[in-house]
Subunit: 704 residues, 2 copies
């Protein structure tokens, strides 16, 4: 690393933002990244001698600190085939450079072996505003430039992660040697990616690396062109140690006492709604209304200021206008409050950036963690805590949801209520001036009341911190993310190919996946995943079997399984025979297993029970068809019973159902949901999509 250190120091000292090609090559050498044989010539004769050593054909490139875009300056000649061409090429490049810039300083002309053949790929690194250093990999040429077939990972990365990148592009097959071509060395490519990751990890002042093209054959890979951009060291993001976050968040989610700053007895005021929700929600800790003009509010003694409260205060909910927040927050800080729930709007979201900076500073100075500002508050059902101006919510369950937007928070609440979704927490994060998703993940990770986390987010303050937290949590419980702003590609000043390719959403998508997060494509998907994932046991393998009374549903369920990345089990003969024993001769075994439409409950029971007991099957997708022989509620009660009986016997598998029929199927779905079986009416897509989400998590958690 000493060579690289030296080169960077020199270049930075000279105020440069780019390294020269020879500098780039020396860095590559230090990091074991192969580059073509080459040398620097300072005369035409030397150029010829070098070319003869390297072997023709060669490439000639000007080396000058004054020329960034060598091609534009006429400073590149490709494919020179003999001594004569090299000699005259030398003079030509010098003439072109002088014409381009009469003041040009030329260090010499690089003579490089012309590498070609094999597969042309691009390997690079870029500094992402959210995630910091990331590496990129794609196939060169049209595939990456027109089809944007490129994949990203956080840097540094392991060799296994790098190998995974090779399979993560759409045209992955090409590298394996499609169309009779020789395959590229996967090991050589993965090693090169890993080393680029190590380089930018070691030297944060490297802002972009572009190895483009890299030629990869069966025996190795060579970076034919190296481009390295440098800049200032990025600011380190301040991190609070995990144990400290946990202590803070635990006081916020399980407070012994809550003060309401701006508590009011007057209906319609936010400070009144918060008081009512705390009391009516059943919170059993102490509640301290704070209001300089009242002596008691809703039967509780009121205090002029939080300073006057004669007890410890864990949480202060702010229900006062933005202008009054700073002094009240100072008092809360002095009081030793752990969490400031900053409901008021009127901060950064309305352009009041200074006001927000001021309260962030006050909170930080006192070690107060602040949620918001500009939020609806938060719910934590295990403590019956509704610290919000919305309506109380009391259906306890095991999913924690967070939202960056108040509107989305209200949608979460409405959806929860109408589907009776059990939640552990609903949290608004608003402007995220302090507490963000990382902090919440750290709490939910160890919270036994939470078995899944679903987060709506528009951006991440600290992408790397999020990924670290998510990776830890995902090992134990699913993390679902709805990332809004998918299609608003961030405008980005691109100094390299890699930079131009790193559109916001593709980076988010790859890196969230790398973190093991289940990304929801839309709001409703996030809500359904949140509702269903905690109800489904973790599958023990990839074999999914469809059992359907409606052949038509079977076809659509198969489509949905393929879309969701599920594996329709190839049913072995003995199992096929076993299923056939229960279904009419014109039914179809195989997969889907079509038990046909007119069958009695016993046919559903026998086939579903077989599916649950045979250990080779790992998940069931049921297609129900409303008939008078097996009416909807008969089906629902039967399936709930069979699933429970088998779970009691240790046959614990996810079961999802699609119900096709008249409106009674809605009640049947509600019954099934209440009994732990995920079921939806009038859709073959949703039950399979949520099963697919469960599988995505189980794979990411290494459970499959």
């Amino acid at each position: 690393m000493s060579t690289t250190r030296e080169i960077l120091d020199k270049a930075l000292a000279e105020g440069r933002t780019a390294l020269t090609a020879p500098e780039g090559r020396r860095i590559c050498q230090e990091y074991g990244i192969a580059t073509p044989g080459e040398g620097l010539a300072t005369s035409a004769d030397e150029a010829v001698r070098l070319a003869e050593e390297l072997g023709f054909p060669v490439v000639m490139k000007i080396v000058s600190p004054d020329i960034l875009h060598k091609t534009d300056a006429g400073g590149v000649l490709v494919g020179l085939k003999n001594a004569e061409e090299v000699a005259s090429g030398y003079e030509r490049i010098l003439a072109n450079a002088s014409a381009y810039n009469p003041q040009v300083t030329v260090d010499g002309i690089q003579i490089q072996q012309l590498v070609s053949g094999g597969h042309e790929v691009i390997i690079g690194a870029v500094t992402d505003p959210t995630f910091g250093k990331i590496v990129a990999f794609g196939l060169g040429g049209v595939l990456v430039e027109v089809l944007k077939d490129v994949t990203f990972r956080l840097a540094p990365l392991s060799g296994d992660d790098a190998l995974g990148m090779l399979d993560d592009i759409r045209a992955a097959e090409v590298l394996r040697g499609a169309r009779g071509a020789r395959p590229a060395s996967r090991q050589a490519l993965a090693t090169m990616i890993e080393r680029v990751g190590a380089l930018v990890g070691d030297f944060p002042e490297i802002t972009e690396v572009d190895l483009n093209p890299v030629f990869a054959g069966p025996d190795g890979a060579v970076a034919a062109d190296v481009r390295i951009l440098i800049g200032e060291l990025p600011q380190e993001k301040a991190r609070i140690p995990r144990e400290k976050i946990l202590e803070q968040m635990t006081r916020i989610f399980k407070p012994r006492s809550v003060a309401v700053i701006g508590a009011s007895a007057e209906q319609g005021k936010i400070g009144n709604s918060v008081m009512r929700n705390l009391i009516n929600g059943g919170y059993r800790g102490q509640i301290f209304p704070i209001n300089p003009k009242a002596t008691d509010i809703m039967g509780l003694p009121a205090y002029k200021s939080v300073a006057d409260v004669p007890f410890d205060v864990d949480v202060a909910v702010f229900a006062i206008p933005a202008a009054f927040v700073p002094p009240a927050l100072e008092q809360a800080g002095e009081k030793g409050v752990a969490g400031a729930i900053m409901i008021p709007s009127g901060f950064a979201e309305t352009g009041n950036v200074e006001g927000q900076a001021e309260i962030v500073e006050i909170a930080a100075r006192h070690g107060v963690r602040m949620l918001g500002p500009n939020i609806y508050g938060y719910y934590y059902t295990p403590e019956n805590l509704c610290a919000t101006f919305c309506t109380p919510y009391d259906v306890k369950g095991s999913v924690a949801l967070t939202s960056q937007s108040g509107g989305i928070g209200m949608a979460i609440l409405g959806f929860s209520r109408t589907t009776k979704m059990g939640v552990s927490a609903i949290v608004g994060v608003g402007n995220k001036a302090d507490v963000d998703e990382d902090d919440l993940l750290t709490f939910f990770e160890q919270d036994d009341n939470t078995r899944a986390v679903a987060m709506h987010l528009e951006d991440l303050k600290d992408g790397r911190g999020f990924v670290e937290a998510a990776r830890r949590v995902v090992r134990h419980k699913p993390v679902i993310v709805l990332k809004a702003g998918r299609t608003a590609m961030g405008a980005r000043a691109a100094g390299s190919h890699t930079g131009a390719l790193a559109g916001d959403d593709k980076v988010y998508d790859d890196i969230l996946r790398q973190a093991g997060v289940v990304r929801a494509p839309g709001l409703n998907d996030m809500l359904e995943y949140a509702r269903s994932l905690p109800l489904m046991p973790t599958p023990q393998g990839e074999n999914v079997v469809i059992i359907t009374g409606a052949g038509g549903s079977g076809v659509l369920l198969s489509d949905a399984c393929v879309d969701a990345g599920l594996t329709l089990m190839d049913i072995p003969d003995d199992l096929d025979q076993a299923f056939r024993a229960y279904i009419p001769p014109f039914g179809a075994a195989g997969n889907p297993i079509d038990i046909t439409g007119g069958e009695p409950p016993s046919t559903y029971e026998n086939t579903v029970r077989l599916g649950l007991t045979d250990p080779r099957i790992h998940a069931l997708v049921l297609g129900y068809w409303h008939t008078i022989v097996t009416p909807p509620m008969v089906f629902a009660e039967l399936i709930a019973k069979v699933v429970q009986e088998e779970r009691d016997k240790g046959n614990v598998k996810p079961v999802v159902a699609s119900l096709a029929g008249d409106t009674e199927v809605e009640e049947a779905c509600d019954y099934l949901f209440d009994h732990g079986v995920v079921a939806y009416p009038y859709t073959t897509e949703k039950p399979v999509a949520v099963l697919g989400a469960k599988y995505r998590w189980a794979r990411a958690a290494g459970l499959l």
Copy 2:
């Protein structure tokens, strides 16, 4: 065409399934498809002379009726650069051929100009089992072989359709000259595609054409290799003239009388359910119960056989076991019945193919059109006709739905009832032994009670007939198709590149789009499109504007608009100023227009009214956020009123809404739907998806 006729006749007479390269080239010449300069050499000397005339380098290829795969036989040499190489190449190919097949007959060796450079594309044609002759276009190499980036159209096709194919591949940009390459001549490529389409249209005995590769530059395109496969003339599908279909279908959908064969007074029997549904559904025509053992059923005189009915019978509903169907159908045919509604199962779907063929023959002989067998029946609400064993349905409206599967039919019924979706018809087509989607489209096209058609289908009996019918209908009303079995790629014996690429679903997808059909990705989407499309007026242009109270919804709605292929209007300055006048200073004009969360009804009213009146805006997407200042029902009533007032003034635009809030938003959505505004709770995706579907139709119908 005489040359082609002659070549084909000769090859078919010889029992061949493939044409030789020179034959292929002569056909290309006749159709104006450029091929490289070439000639046939029967000696090494002649080969050298030809090569010198054409110019080096050349390609040499064996011409032999005994050798199909020339490369395998060592019969191809590429890039021969001089006379010596050509002379020795000649002998080498002959030696290889003899080694490959000692009995080989060699007609000579083709000497061909080596064409290269420009863009490599593939143009072909194949005989699809559903759609008949189709043409294919894709970029050569990795793009088409690994990424399957290829597009299909029915053959023959117009020049405009062919031009459209060039833009319909993912890598379309490449042809326009991405990465500094010279563009391909669009006209030359489109002409070549058009001519391949004409060729297979003119000569149905040509089963596959493969021009691969075609080299295309700025000045033209040359098919470097031509491969033509031939076979037997495909059977012409029998078609009933449109006027006749219309007459038949009109008697079926608007019957003056219905006979129920197998009518029963006994609850639980299908023949009883059908009788009850006809009577309780309110059908006002004559009903004739047919039952040899009864004198009257449900108060109506019963007849021993349909032959005994002393009146004309338009429709006979069959509610008897499969075994009894043939004689009863004979009687119905003799009686002059127009439609046989064949509810019974036990035909092809259970393997009883002969039984099905028998009833098809009987129906055809008598000119009876048969729906089914293996169906739930059909509904036509304008006539209060519920000819089904399911429950009656009476919410009249303007969408006609059909399903191939009974289960899906039941899902249609349940969904319709729970959403109060107004329908004109629900029709089961089951085994489609006779009446299929084409017949139904022909009726719905001219049916003033139907303004949109939604069809679930697993296959098409006559893809070309369907496309013709759909193209006609789509000009007046949307046709929505849920094609099940998307992901079950049909196994296909591939005799050419084009053949191997023509996977079932991609062909369906391209050709349904070409027909102007709106394809629904899943069951629930089909149902929602069916429910919403008739409620939305047709947009007059592409400019979509989002007005939202929740910034968070605005971001998600923008994502959804991009996903749905909608254009977020670039708001002109004066319009931006006009919106700004109504919203708080910290709100955001632009698009989405974020009116911010705490606004009163007047802000929604002012901005929505402006959106409806300004003629540059063509559709509105609303994002509502539940607040106490503007509660859900206040919002709903307000928007319904404003939309109606503006429609009355002639400002008729589609308006869709996403409501985020507590459960009251569900009632608000119901109210909005009842008042012609498409609105969904807890989802930002659905309202935009249905607007996107409306746009897809409007574009296909040429209305934009």
